[in-house]
Amino acid sequence: MAGAADGIGAYARHLRHVVTENPVTGGAFALFVLLVLTAVLGPALVPYDPLQSNAAATLQAPSARHWFGTDQLGRDVFSRVVVATRLDMTIAFASVLLVFVTGTLTGVAAGHFGGWVDRVVGRVSDTIMAFPLFVLAMGIVAALGNTVGNIVLATAVVNFPLYVRVARAEANVRRDAGFVEAARISGNGEARVVLFHILPNTLPIMMVQVSLTLGYAILNAAGLSFIGLGVRPPTPEWGIMVADGANYIQSGEWWIALFPGLALMLAVFCFNLLGDGLRDLIDPRRRT
């Protein structure tokens, strides 16, 4: 390769270019970095133990001592929101990684080889899509149990048809492209053609999918927790916190639901805006 070090240097330059060129992308990247840092360092830096209840300090409005107030058990909402970042981000990333790998590989195989592979994958996809997706996720978690692992699995399953569809279309379009024929004539067997020639070309579009699904995955996990089918209390998780807080809005304790809700909104916002930036990062045509 023409200098791996050069490659990394050029990539870093490209990264900086993409981030600085479009303020929206730059903002989304900054927010993303903030979220990751919060997830990694947050639990070590929060002022209060998120699980520590304090009967004396329940339902306190936001103040200098408790920035986001306290909930019905006297727990510091701020600490809980920060600590929940790690869990929510983990669920989101894990499920998206799972569906990205399985969905893309399956879709590309179906689009490239056609025949019975395509038919089987198609039917599996159709079956999944026949269900309202959230209901299906609920069903999977209810059947398999309320664990983080099952939430990840449910989110992945529910998003599988989407990835398969996009990847399949991309692979299909490129099946007889000039460079694919050239790859075959250069001695690449079909497996190599799919893995090293076609797959890398589907990645830019899949990246946009990934960012959109990240947002959805967080919402899915939060939604499942909201209805009691997700993470179990007292584990801090944005969805559960919103669910708890919903009971108190009418009585005026708005902060219990609002701050986790805001965190959710920011995270989804960030991921959606990141989509274009990620694609620019991956697609060499944007590199000059």
Partner: protein, 331 residues
């Protein structure tokens, strides 16, 4: 002297128009497209054979079958004595003969992987078929870039950062990387400007001599044929209409289609219109063609009863010159 490439009775058929279940109950069957129908071809060592014909005549399909990207439906392809038609295309990619037949593609933009640098594009065949340690590989790629006059600095660029001519050169460097004996070129200059075309044609001519290759040169541009080819094969709707040396084909075309083709070439002189033979009528369908009827009947300015009852075969007109027409006169 045995030819380098000897193709005999080559056919390639495709099924088209699969009928739905209701039509199938009615007895309708899928049609069969005869893209290549009984073609014989011979290329000697160091020879350039031009393959011409209008779009849809099957020349691209024929080129791809010869290059073993597609399997033939019938027929034999003897390359350096071995019948390579017997090896399925899927397995041919990993066969030692793969490096002996290579291809230059029509659209340089389409035929380079947009996510790979020029270096990687040229290095790929070497990595796959004759791997070298990294340093030697880099040297070899640089050597190839030199051979096609591609500045070394461009090797780290992506295809979208290269001009049409530069991309064409990357494609050629890749094709000759392992010293093939036969190079199949599918309209290599039709997407290029006239000045770049000159550069590429001269390069191809030079490489042919330096590396001792034969060419199967598919094109629809007769001027290019005149410039680079030794012999010409004219195809029409999947069959060979005429074969001969460039001199024979251009000076004494015997098949009516060849004559019409030559009459359509611009003279290049301002205000001088050539004696055009216009072909009226629609071409016959290549789907389920009647095997007894000449494919050119209906569009041909001539025609007799025999043309509708007996498919013309290639008959010799002169040594090395054959035409498939009942009405063509032997020289």
């Amino acid at each position: 002297m045995t030819a380098l490439l000897d193709v005999a009775g080559l056919c390639r058929r495709f099924t088209v128009g699969q009928p739905g279940p209701i039509d199938r109950l009615r007895g309708r069957k899928a049609g069969v497209l005869h893209a290549v129908d009984g073609v014989d071809l011979r290329i000697g060592e160091g020879e350039v054979l031009g393959l011409v014909g209008e779009s849809g005549c099957g020349k691209s399909t024929l080129a791809r079958v010869v290059a073993r990207l597609i399997d033939p439906s019938e027929g034999s392809i003897r390359f350096a004595g071995e019948d390579i038609a017997a090896i399925p295309a899927r397995r041919f990619a990993r066969h030692p003969m793969r490096r002996a037949i290579q291809m230059v593609f029509q659209d340089p933009t389409e035929s380079l992987n947009p996510r790979w640098t020029a270096f990687d594009c040229i290095a790929d065949p070497i990595r796959r078929m004759a791997p070298l340690p990294a340093a030697k590989l880099a040297d070899r790629v640089r050597e190839l870039a030199d051979l096609v006059s591609l500045p070394e600095a461009l090797l780290s660029r992506f295809p979208h950062q290269l001009s049409g001519g530069q991309k064409a050169r990357v494609g050629i460097a890749r094709a000759v990387a392992l010293g093939p004996r036969l190079l199949v070129l599918d309209e290599p200059t039709s997407a290029l400007d006239v000045s770049v075309q000159v550069v590429v044609l001269k390069l191809l001519d030079d490489l042919k001599r330096r590396l001792g290759m034969s060419y199967l040169f598919v094109t629809h541009d007769l001027e290019v044929v005149r410039l680079v080819c030794d012999r010409v094969a004219v195809m029409y709707l999947g069959r060979m209409a005429e074969v001969g040396s460039v001199e024979q084909i251009f000076r004494r075309p015997s098949h009516p289609y060849t004559r019409a083709l030559l009459s359509a070439v611009p003279t290049g002189e301002p205000g001088v219109a050539p004696q055009r033979i216009t072909l009226s009528g629609d071409p016959r369908s290549p789907i389920d063609p009647d095997p007894r009827v000449c494919r050119f009947l209906g569009r041909c300015p001539q025609g007799t009863d025999r043309c509708a009852t007996e498919m013309p075969q290639l008959r010799p007109m002169a040594p090395g010159h054959a035409a498939a027409c009942h009405l063509a006169d032997a020289a």
